[in-house]
């Protein structure tokens, strides 16, 4: 905004230093990760925060810890690093594909998982629906509480505007190793490089009879914010992984979405393509079976 001083940026080396710097910088100060969203604030006619604290030099936020039962991803891990690290894990395929296919290579080298989660107002975030379908848990640190003491399921994190800000820093995103297969399907209008018109991420468990036993399905880019599609999750319970049948169920339930108009596509189009994307997601899961 005109007349305001350009925001200072602190570049701490440890999480305690970052939390202290954020508290010291006062109300409204915000973490800065890769910068690909925050640097475009002026284009969105949004004011910058009065001060930023950069997270990219904090080693513990750049780690990915893989254990048998969970994978913990540092908030400052980039999309490119994430895609590479997760490629061996089929249960986390939705997140690996989201990270590998979003934006373009140079943006993937900068943009982080924490930044993608905290970029409120970004409807086409790729990682967020993937994290929704994988039932991720978000760890948050603040000066008064040790790192990891505050944990929120990703849905609760997204629903709570106070989950970020106020001196808080998202430190890790933790994924349980469910053993379910997962998939991330997106529709950009070009083959790649632009924002997807619609995104479907799904993690589906299939029982011995080949019927769906559990399903978590998330939709991105269609409405202003990504969300679970619980209506469809319930409807496909007990169904076989038949893409045409499940796409037809999706078509019958799609009117619950009210699509957002945007430069890439009008709202009705985003809703219209959803059943097709659901069908593609189911086909991919069936093929991997």
């Amino acid at each position: 905004m005109q007349g305001l001083a350009p925001p200072p940026v602190a570049v701490p080396r440890t999480l305690p230093e970052a939390l202290a710097a954020l508290s010291a910088a006062g109300d409204g100060a915000a973490p800065l990760a890769g910068g690909t969203w925050i640097m475009r604030a002026p284009i969105r006619h949004e004011a910058h925060a009065p001060a930023y604290v950069a997270l990219g030099r904090i080693a513990e936020l750049r780690r990915i810890d893989v254990a048998d039962d969970e994978v913990a991803i540092g908030a400052a891990v980039t999309h490119a690093e994430l895609a590479k690290a997760l490629s061996p894990f089929s249960d986390l395929a939705a997140l690996a594909a989201a990270a590998a296919g979003s934006a373009n290579p140079a943006v993937r080298n900068a943009a982080t998982i924490g930044g993608n989660l905290c970029a409120r107002g970004f409807p086409a975030a790729d990682l967020v629906p993937a994290l929704l379908c994988l039932d991720a848990v978000v760890e948050i640190a603040e000066a008064a509480a040790p790192a990891g003491s505050r944990r929120l399921p990703v849905e609760a994190f997204l629903a709570d505007p106070a989950a970020t800000g106020g001196g808080r820093i998202v430190t890790r995103i933790v994924l349980k190793r469910s053993g379910l297969r997962s998939v991330h399907v997106r529709l950009p209008l070009r083959k790649a490089g632009d924002y997807p018109v619609a995104i479907v991420s799904a993690a589906i468990g299939v029982g011995g009879g080949g019927r769906v036993e559990s399903a978590r399905i998330a939709v991105g880019s269609v409405e202003a914010a990504p969300r679970r599609w619980t209506g469809l999750e319930g409807a496909i319970n007990g169904e076989r992984l038949d893409p045409a049948r499940i796409a037809a169920l999706a078509a019958s339930l799609a009117p619950e979405f009210s699509g957002r108009d945007g430069v890439e596509a009008p709202g009705w189009y985003r809703v219209r393509v959803l059943p097709t994307l659901v069908g593609r997601a189911i086909a991919a899961l069936a093929a991997a079976a």
Partner: protein, 155 residues
Amino acid sequence: MMQVTLLVNGEERRLSAEPLTPLLDVLRDTLHLTGAKPVCREGFCGACMVLLDGAPAVACLTPVALADGRSVETVEGLGTAETPSPVQRALEEHEAVQCGMCFPGMVVTLTHLTRPGNCAPTRDAVKAGLVGNLCRCTGYERIVDAALAVMEDGR
């Protein structure tokens, strides 16, 4: 203002800048390296591509504070008219050079892609690597030919 040290094309440069200044503006306005172009300024077009510690970065969305202490390679550092780099030579030989809007960024991205281990020597992989470099002349095919020729020579 913030004191920043950049290793630009192998040369240490010290300067002071507002920390959120795009690296692109520091390169062009302070260091007078105008090869990186300000075109979309949204990270879509790739005309401002530089290599940050060897990896492609859109200089328009890179706050200079995050480049402090790091290596920055710009198109100016890649070769000269007398001694072009392998990528520049291949682009000339394949008559792939087009208008100057996207091309400096193309050269920077291709320099990264043709370094060992960064890209499989296939058309699809090169195209995937060029997703963030938009050419409005639409002449990608010869650019891909040139990149593949450099990769073949390098093996």
